[in-house]
């Protein structure tokens, strides 16, 4: 097992550096979310708190809808579960890359920040997951997310539409930086990415399934496509641990 030993400060710094593009994208998306928070009747502080604790975009959006309609706490629990179920898979994938000798407290603390983006950059690094790298990224990205939500709640539509539009692709750019290099090196992953793009596009257009929320479509596609890939192209443990992008 290859494991590059790095000091805590250098891991934190590297994580914080890669947290910058995440924070940038978060800020723009959170701004739009803040407008929803206001519509749901949250104060700026409440929207800040919700974002600081939850760090979820579609999940919070769905949750604010429940608050707006005052549908009850059970409804909130159910909707939150459905909108965020994909994190179960990400968390399970991360559990397999944890250092067995690491402290348990890291598992609890890291879980707080399993967002699409932080998950992506943390798991893209080779070897065991580095908790301090994740904390560094979260330290930058999470406050941007919370501040963006609060500002959106206060200021509404002051950000020019051009700027929101441009910033909103930052997160997708990062996803590409993570999946494309391994797709180039490994033919199976390359074909998989192409299949994912096609299937995801089809599901957004087909009747019935296109009515499902984006979160539900993501988890359905992930389970189906990753299962098919696992059945057709099994990976040995060594492969599963040591491959993975070097983008981050």
């Amino acid at each position: 097992m290859r494991q590059t030993k790095t000091s805590i400060p250098s891991s934190l710094a590297r994580g914080a550096r890669n947290g910058v593009p995440i924070g940038m994208g978060y800020f723009a998306v959170a701004f739009a979310l803040g407008i929803q928070a206001k519509a749901a009747g949250l104060t700026p502080f409440q929207s800040f708190l919700a974002s600081l604790l939850c760090d979820a975009s579609a999940g919070e959006y769905a949750g604010f809808g429940v608050i707006r309609a005052d549908s009850g706490l059970w409804m909130m629990a159910v909707i939150t579960f459905v909108a965020n179920a994909r994190y179960l898979l990400m968390s399970a994938a991360m559990s397999q890359r944890m250092d067995p000798a690491g402290k348990t407290i890291h598992r609890f603390a890291m879980s707080m920040y399993i967002t699409d983006e932080i998950f992506a950059i943390t798991i893209a690094r080779p070897g065991y997951l580095d908790p301090w790298y994740l904390y560094g990224a979260a330290m930058v990205a999470s406050p941007c997310w919370a501040a963006g939500t609060a500002l959106g709640c206060v200021a509404g539509n002051v950000m020019p539409a051009r700027a929101v539009s441009a910033l909103s692709v930052a997160l997708f750019g990062m996803f590409l930086a993570i999946i494309i290099p391994p797709a180039r090196k490994d033919r199976v992953i390359g074909a998989l990415v192409a299949v994912c793009f096609a299937a995801s596009f089809a599901m957004s257009r087909l009747p019935v399934v296109s009515g499902l929320s984006e979160g539900t479509r993501t988890i359905l596609l992930t389970v189906v496509i990753a299962s098919a890939a696992a059945a057709l192209f099994p990976r040995t443990r060594r492969g599963a641990r040591e491959e993975g992008g070097e983008a981050a």
Partner: protein, 100 residues
């Protein structure tokens, strides 16, 4: 007060979703199928979340398509997270000056 109760429930459910697999799955999974499944999960999730969402995120869909192409090319040639993200933003901003 009711809003705080909602926020608390939202937080409790989302944290449970994130923390349960991480804290309960303490050993390496033995099944080759599950191992392979979890190996593919990140690539599949990120890919399905990227497209077609990137095209719908911008004011003009063509700007989103351009961002996708620029992002794929930049990542293909090994640029890091930040440069790829910035190039995608720039592609949208500049093309929308003409498109919108």
């Amino acid at each position: 007060m009711r809003n705080y109760a909602y926020i608390l429930v939202m937080f409790a459910v989302i944290y449970a979703i994130r923390a349960l697999p991480m804290t309960l799955i303490r050993r390496p999974i033995k099944s080759p199928f599950l191992q392979s499944f979890l190996f593919y999960v990140p690539y599949v999730t990120l890919a399905v979340m990227t497209f077609p969402a990137i095209v719908n995120a911008t004011q003009h869909p063509l700007a989103g398509v351009l961002a996708l192409v620029v992002g794929v090319v930049a990542a293909w040639f090994g640029l890091g997270l930040m440069p790829v993200a910035v190039l995608c933003c720039a592609a949208v901003f500049l093309s929308e000056l003409l498109l919108v």
